[in-house]
């Protein structure tokens, strides 16, 4: 079957009234949490993970994915209107978006953000559909050695790209790996780090860990930091951009989409980096760079297109290789696994309706988002007035009930509390919980494939260097490590010289 007919099958799944409803719920919820600073897609998806359990797998993934890309729309609204980025990926939109709002052109900024996002989302969706089959065909030939090397490179890339530096990044990932090792060892069946608790024999429950690490820890963190003032909002003004706006924004949207689509595929680069890069590129190619920071429409169009394109193409490594590049993707991977679907090169053939249904739903979701965001913008802004302490109580109760019902066991609630506290401590120590969870997922994946490759080669470690794809990934990983180390050493020297 060709891509068109496969997409048609996908549309059938996505247009099923129930799935359509979940898509709408997902993107609405995504927009809402995108608007609210401090409540991100990671928390929301983590919270809904136990609940989505009872849904059919298509509906549950469509819902969770909707939250994810919906959030990147919602984040731009508050950036523009209140100068408060709802999401990190929209932080850069504040610069010119809010300036536009101050000049009474908030409507145009919002419209350009939404339309640019829609265009980028469409391109991103198409890319997944087109790149999917050939990429899966290549990935099909990956053996244990290739997978081990790929995870090695991906993990290093993610860890070194983090804010706060490579050392802390790798540290957080390593901690995650240690926790990921708990449970029965795949190669021998021996129980590791279970401390005699039968509940830990299959490893630490992913949902309990994720909810604790993100939702609970975030609440503790938010409560302990002073409250924000959300009262000053700008008027929206005329919604439709002028001809001149379109003329200026159009190339920026194209460039932003390209940058976002490319960076989205790389593990670790993520949506935040793509919007930032797109903004920098716009500033550099602009004829009058001094307009940036004063309300240049390109400064809204490019990053907003970029973050949405990246949000979309981020699905490529997750769905096709089974390797998540960001914490949200790690959560979605977890959601697939809970439903007994293992993302990877075989997913497209074995779960064709699910795969193509998800792709089609993303495009429909993007359409919903334009409709939701433009006419209903006033509603979302009002959401900012919800008192946070109410929200927190709700989130806490929701987290505990959700985790408990998954295994009907209080043990998982203790796991939840444990990781809530650990998540808070990690943040306090400047270690990223996002990297912790990526380590938790990718570490065991690396170990398993490494040992399997060793078993297949009957103990010969050269297997990793004899296979070309594996060799390329290992060299890539080492290059990233070398780059990170030299910049770390250089910074250290500079600091020493200054000191």
């Amino acid at each position: 079957m060709d891509v068109v007919s496969l997409l048609a099958t996908g549309l059938q799944v996505a247009l099923n009234p129930v799935n359509l409803l979940y898509c709408l719920i997902g993107v609405s919820l995504g927009t809402a949490i995108g608007v609210l600073p401090g409540v991100g897609p990671v928390i929301t998806i983590a919270l809904l993970l136990p609940l989505s359990f009872g849904l059919p797998v298509e509906s549950s993934i469509i819902l969770l994915a909707g939250i994810y890309y919906g959030a990147s729309y919602g984040g731009s609204t508050t950036s523009i209107l209140v100068n408060l980025p709802g999401e990190a990926s929209s932080a850069v939109t504040c610069i010119d978006g809010h300036q536009m709002a101050k000049k009474g052109r908030a409507g145009a900024a919002l419209a350009v953000a939404a339309l640019g996002s829609f265009f980028a989302g469409t391109v991103g969706t198409l890319l997944i559909a087109l790149a999917g089959p050939p990429l899966a065909a290549i990935a099909m030939r990956f053996g244990a050695a290739e997978y081990a090397a790929l995870v090695f490179a991906a993990l290093l890339m993610v860890a070194t790209m983090t804010r706060g530096g490579a050392v802390k990044g790798i540290g957080a990932a390593l901690l995650g790996i240690i926790f990921g090792l708990a449970g029965a060892d795949v190669m021998t069946g021996v129980f590791r780090f279970t401390f005699g608790a039968p509940e830990l024999r299959d490893g630490i429950d992913f949902a309990a860990l994720a909810v604790g690490l993100f939702a609970i820890a975030e609440i503790i963190d938010n409560i302990s930091s002073p409250s924000r003032d959300n009262s000053s909002t700008s008027a929206i003004g005329r919604l439709w951009p002028t001809k001149d706006d379109f003329r200026k924004a159009w190339p920026a949207v194209l460039r932003g989409t390209g940058i976002g689509a490319l960076l989205g595929v790389l593990p670790g680069a993520g949506v935040a980096m793509s919007s930032f890069s797109a903004y920098m590129v716009e500033k550099n190619v602009a004829k009058e760079p001094e307009r940036f920071g004063e309300g240049a429409i390109e400064g809204v169009a490019a990053p907003e297109s970029a973050n949405n394109a990246a949000a979309q193409t981020g699905f490529i490594p997750t769905l096709l290789l089974g390797i998540p590049g960001s914490p949200v993707m790690a959560l979605l991977l977890g959601a697939f696994m809970i439903h007994g679907v293992a993302p990877g090169p075989r997913m497209m053939s074995e779960h064709a309706p699910l795969f193509w249904g998800l792709i089609a739903s993303m495009w429909i979701g993007n359409l919903f988002l334009v409709l939701l965001n433009l006419p209903l913008i006033g509603l979302w802004v009002r959401l900012l007035k919800v008192p946070y302490h109410w929200l927190y109580v709700f989130v806490l109760a929701f987290a505990c009930v959700g985790v408990f019902t998954m295994g009907s066991s209080a043990f998982q609630v203790y796991v939840l509390i444990f990781f809530g506290l650990l998540g808070y401590l990690l943040k306090a120590a400047g270690l990223s919980p996002a990297l912790f969870i990526l380590g938790f997922i990718l570490g065991p994946m690396f170990e398993e494939n490494f040992r399997r490759a060793m078993a297949v080669s009957h103990g010969d470690p050269l297997v990793f260097f004899q296979r070309p794809i594996s060799l390329i990934f290992i060299l890539l990983g080492l290059a990233i490590l070398a780059l990170a180390t030299t910049s770390f050493v250089r910074r250290g020297r500079e600091e020493a010289a200054e000191g």
């Binding site: 359990f53 009872g54 797998v57 099909m140 030939r141 053996g143 244990a144 029965a184 795949v186 190669m187 021998t188 069946g189 021996v190 129980f191 039968p198 509940e199 024999r201 299959d202 809970i338 439903h339 007994g340 293992a342 990877g344 090169p345 075989r346 074995e350 295994g407 009907s408 066991s409 398993e448 399997r452 078993a455 297949v456 009957h458």
Partner: protein, 323 residues
């Protein structure tokens, strides 16, 4: 619910101390019945148990509710059910790993024969010995010859340590006195991928999952582990035709804690076997690719204890123990 049943029991006790027990049994079930399943929602075991829970609810007019207690390959559920009151209000839906786990690891904390009262088997499916075309054998006899001629040279895959794919192969290797290196994958899906891409030349896997890949020519089926040939693949011989006495199937069914009254076991067995004869059940299992294998409690007991002894031997001989 609990309170109600307590009240009911109390009233019955007042009505006549000597007859209360029989009165209560006659009324079974007069409260909600838990069906514990040792796997996550969404899987085959979960789907099958929910289907039967629905049928039992309809039959008895009391709710039969499925409770998922995943963990430790199903051992967590077995441990919970073992200590539940043997009153028919807690039963478990089990699958073949139930009689394998205790031999793999005594720490699982239950005895599959002594701690449980079998109710009925539900369905069963054989494994298939599958080879990648590059291995260049087309019959079981050729495979045996090639493996025996190259001890320890070839790899075989499984869905994990102690899984039925693993033990099927160990059992076969032990019977033919051959040697091959075990490469465990995580789950059947992973194993199939490795097998299709030729990373491992051969493995056992369930018939249902293998069918599409046999049809596409990606894998060649050499033999089935059931005593007789499968109706779905009548041209594929049984391993037992070449290696006498070899037999293994993956099954599932219901058990209750030891000491559950005989009347309750019989009532449940009757209801389950009756449902399994319905057209609805037949259509469902046909879609699933497994064979309905309704049994009496006694027959199911034999299957469980037979498997327990058989696998204990295989596991001991192969030296597979997890601690």
């Amino acid at each position: 619910m609990k309170l109600l049943s307590l009240l009911a029991a109390f009233t019955l006790a007042l009505a006549g101390l000597g007859t209360s027990a029989t009165a209560q049994e006659a009324a079974y079930p007069n409260d909600l019945v838990r069906i514990v399943v040792g796997s996550s929602p969404g899987g085959t075991a979960d789907t099958v148990s929910r289907l039967i829970a629905e049928a039992l609810t309809e039959k008895f007019g009391q709710t039969f509710v499925v409770e998922n207690l995943p963990g430790a390959g199903g051992a967590l559920a077995a441990k919970t059910v073992k200590t539940a009151a043997p009153d028919g209000y807690t039963i478990q839906f089990i699958f073949s790993s139930f009689s394998i786990l205790p031999s793999l690891n005594p720490a699982v904390g239950y005895d599959p024969v002594k701690d449980f009262e079998p109710i009925a088997m539900v369905s069963s499916a054989p494994n298939l010995l599958l080879v990648h075309p590059s291995f260049e054998v087309s019959t079981l006899a050729e495979w045996i010859e090639k493996v025996k001629a190259n001890p320890g040279k070839f790899d075989y895959g499984s869905g994990g340590i102690g899984y039925s794919q693993h033990l099927s192969m160990e059992m076969l290797l032990q019977s033919i006195d051959g040697e091959a290196v075990h490469i465990p994958y995580s789950g059947s899906g992973d194993l199939l991928g490795a097998l299709i891409s030729g990373q491992v030349p051969f493995a056992f896997d369930t018939l249902t999952t293998a069918i599409p890949h046999i049809e596409s020519g990606a894998l060649i089926p050499l033999a089935t582990t059931s005593a007789e040939r499968s109706e779905i693949l009548p041209d594929v011989p049984a391993v037992g035709e070449e290696v006498p006495g070899y037999e293994l199937t993956a099954w599932n069914g219901f058990v209750a804690p030891a000491g559950t009254p005989k009347e309750i076991i019989t009532a449940l067995n009757d209801a389950i076997t009756e449902y399994l004869q319905s057209d609805e059940a037949k259509a469902f299992f046909e879609k699933l690719g497994t064979k309905i294998d309704a049994s009496t409690p006694e027959e199911f007991k034999e299957t469980i204890s037979g498997d327990y002894e058989k696998f204990a031997k295989v596991i001991e001989k192969a030296g597979i123990t997890a601690q």
